[in-house]
């Protein structure tokens, strides 16, 4: 299996805050990789650096064989991203927003694809409603559709489940599990440890910008520990260090 994402010694400093502190990890093709960590541990920063939205202050990251610092644009052409703060432009309708994404990404059959997503995530009745008038969950559906509409080889998704109701969460979890079966890769940041344990194949734990752990989820099962217990003890220990 080849590596789609290779991070080495990556650091990001904002003024006097070190959001990422020499993080190294790699993600294999076809895996569903979970990035875990308490609030402010650097997960969102990590996703932004990987997709070239911000530049690292140290180290480097290769994404789909491209250097994130200098080839961000080409990376964003090929991956799908759900940003942390879902923010489709307020005055486009949902349909227009997906058409906008399609026009930027040059997807010829965008309307058909959009219709499929409206059906799949059950928000076809909101097609012609302005984004600013959508509920939070519906906006999140739209951002989800936007990230996967071009079937990217790699999707980096920041807390995609947080605003969904339980039924929608189930639907989306199934979608993600199926998605990686076709050989595509997902890089997911989440606080919901049960979800991570249920769907991820490997995971990493960040704490105060530092990588505390990285490895397959199956290893934990072998040791007979639950992800949530493991995470909590790791972070508490890390907190004292």
């Amino acid at each position: 299996m080849s590596v789609v994402l290779e991070v080495s010694g990556l650091s990001k400093v904002y003024g006097d805050v070190t959001a990422l502190d020499r993080v190294s990890l790699s993600v294999e093709e076809g895996s569903l990789f979970g990035l875990l960590g308490p609030n402010g541990s650097g997960k969102t920063t990590m996703i932004k650096v990987l997709t070239g939205q911000i530049r690292p202050t140290g180290g480097s990251a290769m994404v789909l064989g491209l250097d994130s610092e200098h080839e961000g644009l080409r990376i964003r052409e090929r991956v799908g991203i759900i940003p942390e703060q879902e923010s489709p432009p307020s005055f486009l309708t949902s349909m227009e927003y997906l058409e906008f994404v399609g026009a930027v990404r040059k997807i010829p059959d965008i309307r058909e694809r959009a219709d499929e997503w409206f059906d799949y995530l059950e928000f076809g009745d909101k097609k012609n409603v302005l984004c600013k008038d959508l509920s939070r969950g519906t906006r999140q559906k739209l951002m989800f559709a936007q990230a996967f509409i071009h079937e990217p080889a790699l999707a980096l998704i920041d807390e995609p489940l947080i605003n969904f109701d339980p039924i929608m969460q189930d639907l989306v979890k199934d979608y993600l599990k199926d998605y990686v079966k076709s050989g595509k890769t997902i890089f997911l940041s989440t606080h919901i440890l049960e979800v991570a344990e249920e769907i991820c194949s490997s995971f990493a734990v960040l704490h105060r910008g530092r990588l505390l752990h990285s490895g397959p989820v199956a290893d934990l099962a072998e040791k007979g520990v639950h992800l949530s217990g493991f995470f909590l003890s790791l972070v508490r220990k890390g907190g004292h260090a």
């Binding site: 932004k48 997709t51 939205q53 911000i54 530049r55 961000g72 644009l73 080409r74 964003r76 052409e77 991203i81 759900i82 940003p83 703060q85 923010s87 489709p88 432009p89 307020s90 005055f91 486009l92 309708t93 349909m95 227009e96 058409e99 906008f100 994404v101 026009a103 930027v104 990404r105 309307r111 012609n128 409603v129 302005l130 008038d133 936007q146 990230a147």
Partner: protein, 468 residues
């Protein structure tokens, strides 16, 4: 009141200062002070060129316009901040979740804008004039009075906009009627009696001849406008969930010849549906221009017959170029960050949108030319206007990237902008005064304009977008 008010002041300060550093921003009032201080020494010379009293009138009207523009921007604040900083929106809007009435918050907001921009613009300007008084021989008392009447003029602009906006939320029709009636009144009185109406502007009257009665009247008018706008203010959003037809696809199809049609189409829909387009066209374009036309025409007797319209065309072009600030102000890089869009692409698309919007100034100047009996100069006027606007927006894009409305308070940026625009302005004033047809040569400005845009794209791609 003091608590919320102080916090709003701090917020405004942080908003400006975080983006380009406290020092740079703190220098801004000093620069205004310097300009006015040095300007005071030029006054005697200007007086020889302009009829006595017109300088004072022009300054008052400048502050009236400034007040209107500040007010317009303040009102768009919510929409802009939401887009720029995500959910972290302005106190004026987030304070709705606190147990405070909407009118109370709005009143705080208006007072905050008045006080904040008083310290930023009005006070330094007046202080510069006062400081120069001992050297220029201007009577100290009249300098003090000027500071006061300028503040009144500024507040008049601010209150007019707040009043109009309060009315607008209640009824667009009434607001429209008010604006049209006001404009008509100005025009009619101008055509029949010349500039005398402007001389009736209370703060100016107060300056040219102080009397307690006038002072009372000016303050009463302001207080009435302020009270009325707060009384009429309604915090309820008028927008209900309405269903909208698909405008996007047809628009992109129509614009395929444009390089960035997907982004341009989005911007145009955004401007149209959010009302920012109409609001800004009114507050930062039409109103200032009507006022400027008025003043230029005062100086008309000193210019050759075609001079007035061509000068006005250049000014309209420069004001038209500020449309670049609106198209960049109402969204940030954020929503594009998850798409394969770079800062340079965005700059290019914003320049394109801005260029399309120049239909507005171009037709404005064409109509003015015809109405003022200068049809012969129609083509040079439109050429000047459009070229100036393209050039000036290119300069702005180069200097400020995607945040012109904030960076304009950076002294270095503003200074460079003024030098670049001023030089071209001086050259083409001379050229077009020489012969109206020479003004057509201004289309040459498209070339440096285009170079500036290219340079802007290179320059701002190299900057970390997180820093914007």
């Amino acid at each position: 009141m003091p608590e919320l008010f102080m916090r709003m002041m701090k917020e405004e300060w942080r908003m400006h200062s975080t983006i380009f550093g406290h020092v740079s921003f703190a220098l801004f009032p000093f620069m205004i002070f310097g300009i006015s201080f040095m300007g005071s020494f030029l006054l005697p010379h200007l007086r020889q060129a302009l009829p006595v009293g017109d300088m004072a009138l022009a300054t008052h009207v400048m502050f009236l316009v400034l007040g209107a523009m500040v007010g317009g921007f303040g009102l768009m604040g919510n929409e802009m901040m939401n887009r720029r900083f995500g959910q972290a929106s302005l106190l004026a809007y987030s304070a709705r979740s606190l147990p405070l009435s909407g009118k109370f918050i709005f009143a705080n907001f208006v007072v905050k804008d008045t006080v904040y921009y008083f310290f930023l613009w009005v006070l330094p300007f007046g202080a510069g004039y006062i400081a120069a008084a001992p050297f220029t021989g201007a009577p100290f008392s009249s300098a003090l009075l000027l500071l006061f009447t300028l503040a009144l003029a500024f507040m008049a602009g601010l209150c007019t906009v707040f009043l109009l906006s309060s009315v607008y939320v209640r009824s667009r029709a009434v607001c429209g009627v008010m604006v049209i009636a006001g404009g008509f009144l100005l025009l009619a009185s101008f055509l029949s009696t010349g500039p005398t109406l402007a001389l009736l502007f209370p703060p100016y009257m107060l300056y040219s001849g102080f009397s307690w009665g006038m002072l009372l009247l000016s303050c009463a008018i302001l207080a009435a406008m302020f009270a009325l706008s707060i009384l009429l203010f309604s915090p309820d959003e008028t927008g209900t969930t309405r269903v909208h037809g698909d405008l996007y696809r047809p628009l992109v199809k129509r614009g395929t010849f444009l390089q960035q049609s997907p982004l341009v189409a989005k911007d145009l829909i955004d401007l149209y549906r959010s009302g920012i387009g109409i609001g800004q066209a009114l507050f930062s374009f039409a109103i200032p221009l009507v006022v400027i036309w008025f003043f230029l025409s005062l100086a008309g007797s000193f210019l050759p017959p075609h001079g007035l319209i061509l000068l006005f065309a250049m000014i309209s072009g420069v004001i038209g170029s500020t449309m670049y600030t609106w198209v960049t102000e109402f969204d940030s890089f954020g929503p594009y960050a998850c798409l394969p869009v770079s800062v340079s692409t965005l700059i290019q698309s914003k320049i394109t949108t801005c260029a399309l919007l120049q239909v507005l100034p171009a037709s404005f100047i064409a109509i003015t030319a015809v109405l003022s009996g200068n049809s012969a100069d129609l083509i040079p006027a439109v050429a000047l206007c459009v070229s100036f606007s393209f050039y000036a927006s290119g300069v702005m894009a180069y200097l400020c990237g995607l945040s012109p409305s904030v960076l304009v308070y950076d002294v270095k940026v503003l200074f460079t902008y003024l030098v670049f625009d001023g030089a071209v302005f001086a050259i083409f004033s001379a050229v077009s005064l020489a012969h109206p047809l020479y003004a057509i040569s201004s289309v040459l400005l498209f070339f440096p304009g285009w170079l500036f845009v290219k340079a802007a794209m290179r320059r701002w791609d190299a900057v970390d977008p997180a820093g914007l």
